[in-house]
Amino acid sequence: MTDDPSTELRDPLPVIDAEDLGIFYRLQQRRRVGIKRLLTGGGWNRDAPLLWALRGVTFQCHEGEILGIIGSNGAGKSTLCLALSQILLPDEGRVTVRGEVSTLLSLGAGFNRDLSGRENIYLNAAFLGIPRDEIEQKMEEIIDFSELGEFIDQPIRFYSSGMKSRLGFSVAAALDPEILILDEVLSVGDRGFQQKSRRRLESMMQRSRVIVIVSHSVPFLQELCTHAVWLEKGQMRGFGEAKAVLDEYIAATGGPGAEPTGANEG
């Protein structure tokens, strides 16, 4: 996408602009606070030690770029995705995202297990911000893509986890994303469905202005990304052209990483 001849006409402002971004968790906040501790004044623990999940992260992403985020478990990749999706707000620094963000961080997260697959398509689409009339038009296409057949009218508590993921991906594939953030979405279904979902994802990517992909897999990111951010323990170890950053990452970790499965943590 960097070879795009229309590069000169691009908006000079970055689509994603993170400057000195920091997000922390108070260690005690991760545990729930009891009323007894609250009444004795010890519940809030404002002086509790901070765990900086991200700190001092600065990068920019311009239109047409595909940004890969790489790092080991607990590096802060998912927290960065949450910040870019504006699910978490920065505690330090700032992040500016110019455009509408669509996140595929977890498939079928909004499903109601007592409702049928068809009813859950409407529900999940509403969470993703897809209008009802648009989803009605695409309903048959979504059902076909999910390969659920007559199961679509059964409550999804009878579905296997693979069936739920397939349905979740099929709804998400109806998105027309401006800025697409992907995490943990490529390991859906059997090998046949994975290939089909990969093709659909690539077509979504072509329609997006900017794509952010989180992965452990260097070959996968090398294949797709124009730029990369390398995170370790919440700090940025590298940012720049994908090849240079990923070569540094390989040199430091001693291997190219797993095949693309998309299963990520951190």
Partner: protein, 275 residues
């Protein structure tokens, strides 16, 4: 996507789908389906009627007691079910909240709206019971139910927004809420009328103290006391609700909504770190 009014309006599809999903999930897998929403208040009314009138031999001043009790029990059930649901909703949907950017305020609002839908079914039972007892109601007095329902929605929404935040922050809250709502049930004029409160405090043992005269006035500051009394004026006594009561209930409801909304906005993104 932060929780504010404009984002909620922009995502009104989500609010509608979530409420419908909640109602469908309640009814779809049951034998009775939506008919249970009619049967449920009927059973509750019969229980209280049996206990208060049948066993305790009270409630003769409030005959027909089934209509009297339903006027308070239905809005109270909307309040308690919404409050209990809201206290658990953010913790219960934590993986969703951390996966998709959406105004999370839609979650407690859905609980309130689904509860309100159940309340509307209860109102059918109430109106049918009032008709069965041939209460002398006028069209004007019955019309008052509409603004009362709107104010009830405003009041319960405000309380539930506040409780949703604290429920996510404080694990123990939902356990305490059961006791708080039970206490409120007896403190508010659900089983009895406000006239009993005035009688007890001005003519009983406390009647000798000058300050006891203030107790009924202070008691009527409770928005639920005004609400329940309002429903009874409209559907039990067939009277016009006093202007002072409208003003007080309206002011209290909107202040509670504003406070709940502001509180939710403050905790909106912060609370995610606690989940």
């Amino acid at each position: 996507m932060i929780s504010n009014w404009s984002n909620l309006v922009a995502r009104r599809d989500l609010l509608r789908e979530l409420t419908l999903a909640e109602l469908r999930a309640q009814s779809q897998e049951t034998r009775l389906g939506w008919v249970f929403w009619l049967v449920d208040p009927l059973i509750m009314m019969l229980i209280y009627w049996g206990v208060v009138v049948g066993i305790f031999g009270r409630g003769e001043a409030y005959a027909p007691y089934p209509v009297f009790i339903l006027c308070a029990m239905l809005p109270f059930k909307h309040f308690t079910s919404s409050l209990n649901g809201s206290a658990k909703i953010l913790r219960g949907r934590d993986s969703l909240i951390k996966s998709i950017a959406f105004p999370t305020m839609a979650l407690p609002l859905t609980i309130v709206l689904a509860g309100f839908s159940n309340f509307l079914f209860g109102m059918i039972v109430l109106l049918a019971t009032a008709a069965a007892f041939q209460l002398p109601l006028t069209f004007l007095s019955m019309l008052q139910v509409l603004p009362l329902m709107a104010l009830q929605l405003v009041l319960v929404t405000g309380l539930c927004l506040a409780v949703a935040c604290f429920g996510a922050l404080v694990r123990d809250l939902s356990g305490f809420l059961g006791h708080v709502t039970r206490m409120l049930f007896y403190v508010c004029p659900t089983l009895y009328g406000v006239d009993l409160v005035a009688q007890r405090f001005t003519k009983g043992a406390l009647g000798q103290y000058a300050w006891s005269e203030w107790i009924p006035t202070l008691y009527m500051l409770n928005p639920f006391a005004i609400l329940f009394t309002g429903y009874r004026d409209a559907l039990f006594y067939g009277q016009i609700i006093e202007l002072r009561s409208w003003a007080l209930l309206g002011a209290e409801s909107f202040v509670v909504l504003l406070l709940g909304y502001r509180l939710y906005q403050y905790f909106d993104r912060r609370v995610i770190k606690f989940l």
